[in-house]
Symmetry: C2
Subunit: 387 residues, 2 copies
């Protein structure tokens, strides 16, 4: 076998791509910072007990396991930052009021989420803790749109859902854990016949209402339709009002909003609104977020929480490569005056590359369009011929 082949769904990022990733990373972390979100960096490795505490089965399956040679206990490589950042909010910062945190780092997944999906997303995201009101969801949703716009993706489609509607419809149905999971997946997959087939367990009326949920997706008309089609229930009415308010307040040029009342969120810990952003021609979400008040509970301190996350590799691939700016070549000459001029140019942000002797044939690879030239002891930058 060739030693330099990488595992499937694992990739190097070469300079033109790495420059884009680095630029986006800085732009987004700076954007989060001016919104009051403070950066934290949780570890790549934790005991699986805490890493997977309070999270769902999807995250469990996505997590690589290792054995700790120091403790003999099982470790996991993080597959998601959200539970880690919730742990930091709950136990390390331990603030009483609102806490805003941001992060950026690689995560690993045992299996790719799709045919063209990486197993090493570079997750970047923001989380807002301590506020249960819709203003927090709105702040996070706006920040997500601004982040994508700052990355250069100004035309967006936002899809918003509210799993609390599904919860209100299933509440008191008395399903066992297995039936509950079957129903959850049927709704996630918009499989109305599968929902109706559970009529015996759910009761016919309830099954029909849940089946209707799977068809409630589309533009603002969906909310009116839902008000008519779903049972009268204060929790459902409030959820529909919240969706209408979010859509109204997040509206901006280039942003199109739709609703999906059968969208129940990703890793099973969402407890309020959920949202996802799509580029016009892209079937996979660019960013996902929502409310997940329950995550802190397993650490002994449930706090209201809402946030979003995206994969910088994905965003960078849409934004495109960033070629290196043309550089200045510094000849291989010992002269303190040259060293000074090189230092001055570099301090001003110019890329200056030292020409090491013996590589004249491959000089074009360096990407220099100018060269430092001496004229009566004074060094100045002149165009480099033949480039």
């Amino acid at each position: 076998m060739r030693r330099w082949l990488l595992p499937e769904h694992i990739e190097d990022i070469l300079p033109d791509g790495a420059r884009t990733v680095e630029r986006l990373r800085r732009t987004l972390l700076d954007l989060f910072e001016v919104h009051g979100f403070e950066i934290v960096q949780p570890p790549l490795l934790e005991y699986t007990e805490s890493l997977l505490s309070g999270t769902g089965r999807d995250l469990d399956l996505a997590t690589f396991r290792l054995v700790d040679r120091l403790s003999g206990r099982q470790l996991g490589v993080r597959a998601d930052h959200t539970p880690q950042v919730a742990r930091i909010d709950a136990h390390l910062l331990n603030r009483e009021g609102v806490t805003r945190l941001a992060y950026c780092g690689s995560v690993l997944h045992t299996l790719p989420a799709g045919m063209t999906t990486t197993r090493e997303p570079i997750q970047i995201g923001a989380e807002l803790y301590g506020h249960a009101g819709l203003e927090a969801d709105l702040e996070v949703l706006r920040l997500m749109s601004r982040a994508l716009a700052a990355a250069g993706l100004e035309r967006l489609h936002l899809d918003i859902g509210h799993p609390r509607i599904y919860r209100a419809l299933t509440e008191g149905a008395g399903l066992g854990a297995e039936e509950a999971e079957t129903l959850f997946h049927a709704v996630q997959q918009k499989d109305a016949p599968a929902v109706l087939a559970m009529g015996a367990a759910l009761g016919e009326e309830r099954a029909e209402a849940i089946a209707r949920l799977t068809r409630l997706n589309g533009d603002a008309a969906v909310l009116d339709e839902a008000r008519k089609a779903l049972p009268k229930n204060p929790a459902i009415a409030r959820a529909l009002d919240e969706l209408a308010r979010l859509a109204r307040e997040v509206a901006a040029p280039g942003i199109e909003v739709s609703f999906d009342l059968a969208e129940l969120g990703g890793f099973n810990y969402e407890s309020g609104v959920v949202f996802a952003a799509f580029a016009p021609a892209s079937p996979d979400a660019l960013a996902r977020g929502g409310r997940y008040d329950e995550v802190g509970r397993s650490f002994g301190r449930a706090r209201p929480a809402t946030g979003f996350t995206m994969d910088l590799r994905r965003i960078a691939s849409l934004v495109g490569a960033t070629p290196r700016p043309p550089a200045v070549l510094a000849p291989c000459v010992e002269d303190p005056a040259l060293d000074e001029e090189v230092a001055r140019l570099r301090a001003a942000g110019e890329i200056v590359i030292a020409d090491l002797s013996g590589h004249d044939d491959a000089r074009a690879e360096l990407g220099c369009d100018r060269i430092l030239q001496s004229n009566e002891g004074r060094w100045s930058v002149v165009p480099l011929k033949g480039n």
Copy 2:
């Protein structure tokens, strides 16, 4: 057990520390860039065959193993960027001339290197490929010193060694692999009696010369001493000349240079000069580097290579925490004029935090020293009382 405890030698980085890490990361990557080093980002995960190809036993032991659920093959989590970046130089960029690459990312170690050492260093470094001459080592050594100075560590102690001297002394001794390893470790640990005890295998004269090596460390006088104490040999003479030249050319205010002729490098792949930087009061190296021309060989393309690496966690801990700059509070009021002023302040780099209602008691936690106030419909920033 408490669910939020982390494994030993694994730590979160909280906001005040994460800000320092992020600032240093940017400063150093920018410094590398203006020197012509292009950023790459190799994956966290590779087949162990390629990840550990051509590297030594230390790296092998430091590497966490996993099973790939896609291929059934063994994967390793990277414990060092150097072999990965060499692979990128050898097979992906495949340039003829000089290539300069930089990287920054977490690595994992199965066991900590010392009592107070992390198992998740954030490695940042630079590598120069394709030039065998000492100018390349000098460029890298200078870049390392400049990087530490840019991080704020201006007083440095540089320790330089040249494993080729040891190689010249052991060449043709005909040691078996096990004896060679015993001798290597004895010299690394400056254990002269252990070297002399191998007199039968090495020959007395050779053993005495190698034992003398273990005492050859200190200031410039060491080079003169070595010229007298070591056998006449052109490879040794040239190595001593190279050390003298490096020391002369790297000299700068605040930098103290010493030599250690028994320093043989870290992961066993060094093939030329090796160097390490120390802070005045610190026993552990802050940064390490050297020449390791052999790494590319296992990928079928051995190229001259020299570079250095350091741990941003370590550097950040010496530099200290970065508190958040004071922020501006934006009251919870719906007013497009307020939104505009908030956007203007944020675009100018001010941190503006939205005040969510109901958290007045915990407002001090937000770290705001100013507030936006309306005066006849115009919003302006005024000092926030009680902070």
